[in-house]
Symmetry: C2
Subunit: 344 residues, 2 copies
Amino acid sequence: MSQSYRVAILGATGAVGTELLSLLESRNFPVASLKLLASPRSVGKTLTFKGEALTVEPLSEQAFANVDLVLASAGGSLSRQWAPKAVEAGAVVIDNSSAFRMDSQVPLVVPEVNAQAAAHHAGIIANPNCTTILMSLVTWPLHQVQPIQRLVVSTYQSASGAGARAMEEVKQQAQAILNGEEAIAEVLPYPLAFNLFPHNSRLTEAGYCEEEMKMLNETRKIFGVENLRITATCVRVPVLRAHSEAINLEFERPFDVAQARAILSQSPGVRLVEDWQANYFPMPIEASGQDDVLVGRIRQDLSHPCGLELWLSGDQIRKGAALNAIQIAELLVAKRWLAVPTLA
Amino acid sequence: MSQSYRVAILGATGAVGTELLSLLESRNFPVASLKLLASPRSVGKTLTFKGEALTVEPLSEQAFANVDLVLASAGGSLSRQWAPKAVEAGAVVIDNSSAFRMDSQVPLVVPEVNAQAAAHHAGIIANPNCTTILMSLVTWPLHQVQPIQRLVVSTYQSASGAGARAMEEVKQQAQAILNGEEAIAEVLPYPLAFNLFPHNSRLTEAGYCEEEMKMLNETRKIFGVENLRITATCVRVPVLRAHSEAINLEFERPFDVAQARAILSQSPGVRLVEDWQANYFPMPIEASGQDDVLVGRIRQDLSHPCGLELWLSGDQIRKGAALNAIQIAELLVAKRWLAVPTLA
């Protein structure tokens, strides 16, 4: 006798939403029933789950009745509006938006890093930002051996980070440019095909954009190190899917490269991709569709006696979003931290 | 009465070579005669200079007779072979390859940074690597106010850095992918369209690739600071032309952001591109074809009290190669550091 759960996906038709659906099926999550919810624009659309056609339903006060688990990926404002109602109705919400991430009542969880934090939820658990998840996976195992003193990261973020429409736009722009025509930007502020630009999220007063502030603040919260010194430069690049990051780490004492490599080759959710002879390292096309974050080019920083350089590529939609959310759900199930299990 | 010079371009048909030709014309360099030299593959091709068709000639011992100035851009092995012969024949060589850059007898020159170094040449002057030129232009003016203590850079390098054929290959790959076909990589080791990868230059023992070592060693030589602490991660991105760089600088004392901005807005060869309201900063498509290196996103590093973050985009073929070489030639002319002027 196994337990199964009544699940709802909020924002089922988006890039992350469809991946959530596919992962629930492929990972054989114990689903008793599945409800697809979305904004009016998508209501009535049909998606398939385990061979069964499901129709997208509208959001409403009643939509969360008899739901144990909500996987929310419909943006911050919808989450802010509906997640508390879902909790009121008795569900646990795993929220992929930034709405609750820095809320002190809400655990921010990467299961490989701080699974235990999920135990103390009050109905909502936040899924971190994609770039943060990828970075925390490869830096946390090193941080366990020697606390990180400072972290400098530059990102190479794919169009998927701006959603399915941005991915489509980049392809259209590329075709236009190849045809000698003008590239039109509607979803993103500037043409991204054969171009790149600093991440276009809102700029804060300090000159960091929100995407960068997420990397700073969320990593601190996940690591439980309030004053962890991090700086980030986030950049959108004309890659369709999977983000990459160049990470510079400073420690208090030298970090042996061979040890770092040994640690990361055994870390959960991480795959060491390094062929120094062949100049073969993580690439976004190879990280796409993969569960693991690929890491490589681990080397001693020549500018700092206690520095280490790393390079990663990871699927933004999978481990950077949907997979991490599903892993949180699996964690809740395994630990019996989901509130209202239904006997199947 | 003005002087003019007998010029030869070695490697005239390449991406940088054709730009050299175009800049000699557009900047009205005092050319008495122009000879185009190249490897056998390109001999017989015709290029136009000031409305006149010039045929590419083969390299030979005699090719440098009666030549005052050689602009070499045909790769390291050809430079190593032919530059000394050109000097023997009485010419001054401005070499765009890496062959002589770290030779202590050879000045390595960015005119805005260390023009005076060119005075002491012994026939060969080296043009630095593209990423180094761009970085030195925006960091040198700050270094004058407060010496840089450490520099961490991540690059976003366009296909043009691997030559005209790589640019063509990226376009073909993009079209293949848009057609649902496989992207074929022949010039570069991996598909670059909608992908990116760590720079594919040879890896050194320390785990840095040669492109990265160039940034470390050449910047030290140009700045005249032998032990300048620099680390670099070089990455090829699917941009056609113009490189970008995320630069983290550490100083001994805090560097006022407003002051940094004021300095860079008045630095030669640099253009400040910052509209914080519109989230508008340097982009490779806007840097392409520009003489100036675009710099922006200047901000206080939140991870370091004396840190500064910068972002730049600069045309790899222009200021990153051909323009810098022509500026060195103009400098030699202006300072009368060219050996054998011819009266016109």
